[in-house]
Each structure stands twice: as structure tokens, then as C-alpha cells.
């Protein structure tokens, strides 16, 4: 998978639809998990893995020159697992064992347990630091790979994110790209009500980052922004992707309390119909 495949936006949207179905089945079967947090970032991760953004070898997960993808918002693990299965890192059957005993498909991703998981996440705030470490390691090894880190918006309340942001700018990490899944909700409610983050773009700019904003569900827009930040030199980049929590299933979009729970089998049936377009 050295060559970057070119896949039409329509095909990518179809992949994203199938990924949402996988996330739905995984979490409903497990009876727990974070489907709505996975749905909000589905286009972002689809663009990364299947839109030609990431360079990777599924049969050689630790290929030293691979681009890195770090799922810092570890509760979106089902989304990562769906992508890893589709990309060929893991057997597809494995993802149906999510959250079961003896399965490497843990509730939140654990490094060195499942191929393709670059960092252990789930305690929020930690992924961007790992990304900076991979940047420094790549520099010492004289590799030209790029490092992508998916952040949650609530996660940006954690101090470590800003420690990492400061250091990435200090080290002029221009091969580091953060993507912020800005779905505007955290566990207990709207971000603006619980712990105001705005002005977010200005915060990142003032930390020395190049900032792009994107419609996080518009595949063409995402791909364009991933292209644009490749040109940035001397500073790290962040793409603030405006998203909808629970995107793709109307009654999940309308109810933020789906954050930490799976859909019941009955709800899943309705969701499946929506995602299949038969409802």
C-alpha cells in the first residue's frame, strides 16, 4: 500500500456509511461503547485511511516509515477498529468481539495489543504528546512520514493537550497534523455550557499552529484541507472539523446522552434502516 490510491468522493462516502454500520453493530452487540462519538469522526477517519491521506502497510503494521494515525479520543475506538479491519490490519471477524474477555479489541485502544493501534488512549489528553514523540523520532531516523492525531473537543479541556501543542510548535513539527472532531458536546452536555472552549481557532493560532477549518462530514472539503496542510512549513497544523455528534442517525444526533451508551437492539434496527436509506 505504498502508492496512494485515488478513490472518488462518492466511494468514500459509501465506505463511511459502511463504517457507521460496523460501529453500530459492534457497539450494540457489545451492549456498550461510544457510537455517537465514533459517528461524528467517521468521514475524517475514512478520508485518512481510504482517501489516500495516510501511507501505510497493513501487513507490516510497524513499518518504520509509515504515516502515523493516533486516536487520541480513545472512546471512538469502534471507529478505529472499523477502519483497521477495512484497511486489512486485522481480521474483520475480530471486531465483533469488541469489549469481550480474551479479545484484543479492548473498550479503548491498547498499544501493542492490536496491530495498527499507535498509542494507548482512553484517558483523554494524551495522544498529541505521543504524536510529538513520533515527530522527533522520525526526525532522528531521517524519515519523512507524517503524523495525524484525532482530538476530541472536550479533550481540549485537558492541560496536556496544550503542553503538547506548545512543544509541537517549539519543535516546528510541520509533519504533525491534529484533527479536532468539533461536535460541540462532551459527556455531560454542550461544551459551551460545561466548559467554554471558544475562541478555539485563536487558541491554536496563538500556540503557533496553522489552523484550517472544515466541514467534518464533507469528504471533498476534508481531502482539500489535508492537501492544504501538506504545504505548511515550520509549524504544526490543525484542522478544526465541524461535526455533528451521532451523525448519520437522526435520533442519536438529537440526543447527546448517547455519548457513552450503545443503541439497544430495537434502536439499532431503526438506525440500520436510516443508514441503509430504507427509512
Amino acid at each position: 500500500m505504498d502508492a496512494i490510491p485515488t478513490t472518488a468522493v462518492g466511494e468514500l462516502n459509501e465506505i463511511a456509511r459502511q463504517m457507521r454500520l460496523d460501529i453500530l453493530e459492534m457497539t450494540t452487540k457489545a451492549g456498550s461503547g461510544h457510537p455517537s462519538s465514533s459517528f461524528s469522526a467517521t468521514e475524517i477517519v475514512t478520508a485518512l485511511y481510504f482517501g489516500g491521506v495516510l501511507r501505510y502497510r497493513p501487513d507490516e503494521p510497524l513499518w518504520p516509515e509509515r504515516d502515523r494515525f493516533i486516536m487520541s479520543k480513545g472512546h471512538a475506538a469502534p471507529l478505529l477498529y472499523a477502519a483497521l479491519a477495512r484497511a486489512g490490519y486485522i481480521e474483520r471477524n475480530l471486531i465483533w468481539t469488541l469489549r469481550e474477555v480474551d479479545s484484543p479489541v479492548q473498550g479503548h485502544p491498547i498499544q501493542n495489543v492490536l496491530p495498527g493501534v499507535e498509542a494507548t488512549t482512553g484517558s483523554l489528553g494524551q495522544g498529541l504528546s505521543a504524536g510529538v514523540g513520533h515527530v522527533l523520532g522520525g526526525r532522528l531516523n531521517r524519515f519523512d512520514y507524517r503524523v495525524y492525531v484525532l482530538l476530541g473537543d472536550g479533550e481540549c479541556e485537558a492541560g496536556q493537550v496544550w503542553e503538547a501543542a506548545m512543544s509541537a510548535a517549539h519543535f516546528k513539527a510541520d509533519n504533525l497534523v491534529a484533527i479536532l472532531d468539533y461536535n460541540k458536546y462532551q459527556e455531560t452536555g454542550p461544551i459551551s455550557r460545561e466548559m467554554a472552549l471558544e475562541p478555539l481557532a485563536q487558541k491554536w493560532q496563538s500556540f503557533g499552529w496553522h489552523v484550517e477549518e472544515a466541514d467534518g462530514h464533507d469528504m471533498a472539503d476534508l481531502l482539500a484541507k489535508f492537501d492544504a496542510v501538506r504545504m505548511v512549513k515550520g509549524q504544526p497544523s490543525i484542522i478544526i472539523a465541524h461535526t455533528i455528534k451521532g451523525k448519520g442517525v437522526s435520533f442519536v444526533e438529537a440526543d447527546f446522552t448517547f455519548h457513552g451508551r450503545a443503541l439497544t437492539p430495537q434502536q439499532a434496527e431503526l438506525a440500520r434502516e436510516e443508514l441503509h436509506g430504507t427509512r
Binding site: 498499544q111 482512553g122 489528553g125 494524551q126 504528546s129 510529538v132 513520533h134 512543544s167
Partner: protein, 325 residues
């Protein structure tokens, strides 16, 4: 009282932290994969020696311990051997969750230096003292925990930690420690305690600066006709079960001595092994549920009962309990 004097140990001119700095420079010279991460204390932890010699492999991450650990973990994932360094207190207490997830749970090949362990950093006071570091590290299952006791064992420990594949915590001290081992001839195998004095009447199990104090205590006890064995328990995990079982069986009483809280430190781990293997009377020298204060290190050791005198007193009690049985 000068540490190691009663035991006839030779003082060493350099503080242990400087010895750590030299040992780290040696492994950096031998292994080009070694990188050093500093929490802006390189002039105190003496990682500055590496900064001066190999600036490309030294990163000051600043006063941001969480990020320090996370970046180190990323470098480990790239095949480097990161030494993540700061004061034991700041690093573990600020970044415990990062050490837990990014290092311990991920089981990566990273080394964590907790410098200025215990109370002998002295005058800077209890905010800077790492008196709970061994207990905290004990809560992280994949970590090897090392507490070298003299200059030679520091060199050996830094090399052993670097060569070992997996997470290692190493404790260093601000003070100078006398020579227990010949400089280039220190037996050091991870998980294998060193018998530094033979004896049949009881065993003193010690780590770090308390090994020299234990040897002093053993010298005092010898004058009273009590032959104390001294075990240098330089590895807190994995603990040398065989050496402890032999000590319990052969000497019948055990005293532990550590510059750490009694709760969750070396002594409580030794007690668990002894209770399982061969229960014998035990006594424990360490900090009893208290923070300390600023002061000269020797004054602090006396006030908080971490001297050879305190070890000898505990040894007499343990020995008496054994002979009453």
C-alpha cells in the same frame, strides 16, 4: 555520623546524581538509540552531561511532565530507548496517568528516572521529596523498579536498565553515597539481591542509601555478638523471592530499611514474600505516615529515624523476638 564509616566504607567524592549523569552518558555513548528527555532539571539530575555531548539526542520538554512522558513514549514506539527524567516527586505525581497508560499498560521500552528520591535532598523541603515513589511505581504492573545503593551499582543499574527491554524505573539520590562495591566489579542482575554481608542471626534487607546504613548497623551489632546478614535489595520488582526465603529460613528474623514511606514501599513488599515463604519476626525502618521538612540531610535522617542507630535498634527487637519463639 558519616554514612558507611562504621562499616569501613570508602566515601565517594561525587553525589549519586552526578554518578547517574556519568552512567547515562556512558550508555548514550554505547547505544545510539538512547535518547534523553528532561523536565527542565537537567542541571540537577545531571542529564546535562548528555545534553553537552549528544545535543541531538537530548530534548528539554520543559516544565510539563505529562507531555514529557507522552513524547518519550512516542520515541520508544519509534525504536528509541528514551530515558524520561526529572525529580521523582514531580514526574510520578504529575504524570502518573501518562506513565500508567503510555508506558506501563503499553509495555513499551522506556526508562523513567526518579531523581532526588527520599528525604536526603534536604533543604528544598517536602514538596520536592519523593517519599512515595516506590509505592506509586508498585501500582504499575509491568515496571521493573531499581534502587541502586552506591556509585558502582548506579553504573551497573543504568546499563542493566538500558539493556533490558521493557519499562524500568530507577531511583537516584542527591547525596553522595560511600562505595559498597568495587567500581567496575559490581554484580548486578535485575531481580537478584546482593548479599553484601554474611550473617546467621538475622537479615537486614535494605535499598538505596539505607544499604550503607545497614552495613554500619551490622558493624555495631557484631560488637554485641549479633551476626547480621545484609541484603542489597536493589530490585524492588521483580523481588528476589529466593534470597528472601533463604534469609528467613537461615537467619530467622528480618529487618527492612528504606528511605521511603513504610506504606507500599520495599518493606511491605518484603513482608508479603516472607509471610508467604517462611514467616519470621520482622521489623520495619522507614517513614511512618508522615511528610518531613526542610533541613540538613543528616539532621533529617536522625529526626525521622532512618539511621544505622535506628536499624540496629530494630534489629535487636527482631532478634529478641526470634529468640523468644
Amino acid at each position: 555520623m558519616e554514612l558507611g564509616k562504621l562499616a569501613g566504607l570508602k566515601p565517594y567524592p561525587q553525589p549519586l546524581r552526578n554518578v547517574f549523569g556519568e552512567a547515562l552518558l556512558n550508555v548514550a555513548r554505547d547505544n545510539e538509540k538512547v535518547v534523553v528527555l528532561d523536565g527542565d532539571l537537567g542541571n540537577s539530575t545531571k542529564t546535562e552531561y548528555v545534553r553537552q555531548t549528544f545535543p541531538d539526542r537530548f530534548f528539554n520538554i520543559g516544565i510539563a511532565e505529562s507531555n514529557l512522558v507522552g513524547i518519550g513514549a512516542g520515541l520508544a514506539a519509534c525504536g528509541f530507548v528514551p530515558w524520561i527524567t526529572s525529580f521523582s516527586s514531580f514526574l510520578l505525581c504529575n504524570a502518573y496517568d501518562q506513565i500508567r497508560l503510555a508506558v506501563a499498560m503499553s509495555n513499551i521500552n522506556a526508562k523513567v528516572l526518579g531523581s532526588h528520591g527520599g528525604i536526603t535532598l534536604g533543604k528544598d523541603g517536602p514538596t520536592q521529596m519523593g517519599i512515595e515513589d516506590l509505592a506509586l511505581m508498585g501500582g504499575l504492573p509491568t515496571f521493573v523498579i531499581l534502587v541502586p545503593s552506591d556509585p558502582a551499582s548506579m553504573h551497573a543499574a543504568v546499563k542493566a536498565a538500558t539493556d533490558y527491554v521493557g519499562p524500568v524505573f530507577l531511583r537516584s539520590s542527591r547525596v553522595a553515597l560511600p562505595e559498597i562495591y568495587p567500581m567496575n566489579d559490581c554484580p548486578f542482575e535485575i531481580g537478584k539481591a546482593n548479599v553484601v554481608r554474611q550473617g546467621r542471626d538475622l537479615t537486614i534487607v535494605a535499598c538505596g542509601i539505607m544499604v550503607a546504613a545497614a552495613l554500619d548497623a551490622a558493624a555495631v551489632l557484631a560488637q554485641e555478638g549479633i551476626a547480621a546478614r545484609v541484603l542489597d535489595m536493589h530490585t524492588i520488582r521483580p523481588m528476589d523471592v529466593a534470597a528472601l526465603a533463604a534469609a528467613a529460613r537461615e537467619t530467622g528474623a528480618i529487618v527492612t530499611a528504606e528511605e521511603h514511606l513504610l506504606q507500599g514501599g520495599m518493606g511491605s513488599n518484603v513482608a508479603r514474600v516472607v509471610a508467604e515463604q517462611h514467616p519470621v519476626p520482622m521489623r520495619f525502618v522507614g517513614l511512618a505516615d508522615t511528610y518531613t521538612e526542610s533541613g540538613d540531610p543528616d539532621d533529617l535522617l536522625r529526626k525521622y529515624k532512618l539511621t544505622a542507630v535506628d536499624i540496629a535498634a530494630a534489629a535487636r527487637e527482631a532478634y529478641a523476638a526470634k529468640t523468644r519463639q
